[in-house]
C-alpha cells in the first residue's frame, strides 16, 4: 500500500497534481450549489417579512 502512495518516488508530483485538480473541481461544483441555496433562502426570508408587515 505504501508503495502505491510512493508512486515510484514521484508521489509528491502525482498526488499534488491530482489533489490541486480535485480542489479546483470541487470548488467549481460547490459554488453554484451554495449560491443557489442562498438565493432561494434570501427570497423566502424577504417574502416572509413582507407577509408579516
Amino acid at each position: 500500500m505504501s508503495e502505491f502512495w510512493a508512486m515510484g518516488g514521484y508521489g509528491s508530483y502525482v498526488w499534488s497534481a491530482f489533489g490541486l485538480s480535485a480542489l479546483i473541481l470541487i470548488y467549481n461544483l460547490w459554488l453554484p450549489i451554495y449560491r443557489h441555496v442562498k438565493l432561494l433562502q434570501q427570497w423566502r426570508n424577504q417574502q416572509q417579512e413582507e407577509q408579516a408587515l
Binding site: F4, G9, Y13, V14, F18, L29, R35
Partner: protein, 254 residues
C-alpha cells in the same frame, strides 16, 4: 413537430429548462462520479507504469482530459456565441457566460498539472514555448470573457459583447492544437489521433478514455449547476420563479 426536436427547442425556454435541470442533476452526477471513480482506479492503480517516465506518467489521467476540455468548452462557447448573435437565444447567452469560468478551471488544471509534470520530466516548471504560452493565453481569454460580462451593466449589450469576444478568441484554439507540430517545443505531440492508431498501450488508453468521458460529463454537470442559478437570478420577477419560493411559506405543496 418531431418530439426530439420539440424537446430540444424547449431547452431555450427558461421555465421548462429549470425543472428539467433539477430532474436530471442527480442522474448526471451519479454517472459522472461513477466514471471518475472507475477512471481514477484504473489509471492510478491498474495501468502499468511507463517504461521511460515510471509512475509520473499517471499525471496524464488528469492533465490530458483537462487540456482537451479546455479547448472543447471553448468550441462549445463559440457555437453558443453564434446562437446569441444570429438567433438571439437568451438561454444560449446564459450558457455561454456559465461556461467561461468552467473553461477557465479546466485550463488552470491543465497548466498546473502540466507544470507539476514538467518539473521531473523536463527539469522546469515552466518554459515559454508555443503550447504552454498559447494555453496561458486561453486562460486570459476565459477570464476576460466573464470579467467583461460582469463589467457591462446592460446585460443584452454584455451578451453581444462577450459573444463577439468569444468568436474572435476562437483563432487561439487551432494555434494551441497545432502548436506542437508547427513549432519546435518541449511538449510532446498528441498520443491520440483520429487518423492513426493510438501510440499508447491499451491498458493505459482505456483509463484515459474513461477520464475523458468523465471530464465531459463534469463540464455538463457544472454547466447545469451554473445555469440553474443564472436562470432564476436573471428573472426574479417571473411567475415561475415566484412559484419556486411559495411552497416553503404556505407549506401546502412539497
Amino acid at each position: 413537430m418531431n418530439p426530439i426536436l420539440k424537446w430540444c427547442y424547449q431547452l431555450a425556454v427558461p421555465h421548462i429548462l429549470y425543472p428539467r435541470i433539477q430532474a436530471w442533476l442527480p442522474w448526471v452526477a451519479l454517472v459522472t462520479f461513477s466514471l471518475l471513480a472507475l477512471g481514477l482506479y484504473l489509471g492510478l492503480a491498474v495501468a502499468p507504469a511507463d517504461y521511460q517516465q515510471g509512475e509520473a506518467f499517471r499525471i496524464i489521467y488528469v492533465h490530458v482530459p483537462a487540456a482537451w476540455l479546455s479547448m472543447a468548452v471553448y468550441v462549445a462557447m463559440a457555437l453558443m456565441a453564434l446562437s446569441v448573435l444570429v438567433w438571439r437565444i437568451q438561454v444560449a447567452e446564459l450558457a455561454l457566460v456559465a461556461s467561461a469560468p468552467i473553461g477557465a478551471a479546466f485550463t488552470l488544471i491543465a497548466l498546473i498539472t502540466g507544470a507539476i509534470w514538467g518539473k521531473p520530466m523536463w527539469g522546469a516548471w515552466w518554459v515559454w514555448d508555443a503550447r504552454l504560452t498559447s494555453e496561458l493565453i486561453l486562460l486570459f481569454i476565459y477570464i476576460g470573457i466573464f470579467v467583461l460580462y460582469d463589467a457591462i451593466e446592460d446585460k443584452r449589450q454584455a451578451g453581444k459583447a462577450v459573444s463577439l469576444m468569444t468568436l474572435v478568441g476562437l483563432v487561439n484554439i487551432p494555434i494551441i492544437h497545432y502548436s506542437v507540430t508547427w513549432w519546435n517545443t518541449l511538449h510532446q505531440p498528441p498520443s491520440l489521433s483520429k487518423f492513426d492508431t493510438p501510440s499508447i498501450h491499451i491498458d493505459m488508453l482505456i483509463p484515459l478514455l474513461i477520464m475523458l468521458l468523465a471530464f465531459k460529463l463534469l463540464y455538463l454537470l457544472m454547466l447545469m449547476l451554473r445555469m440553474r442559478l443564472s436562470l432564476i437570478e436573471r428573472q426574479p420577477q417571473a411567475a415561475w420563479v415566484k412559484a419556486l419560493i411559495k411552497p416553503a411559506t404556505t407549506g401546502d405543496k412539497p
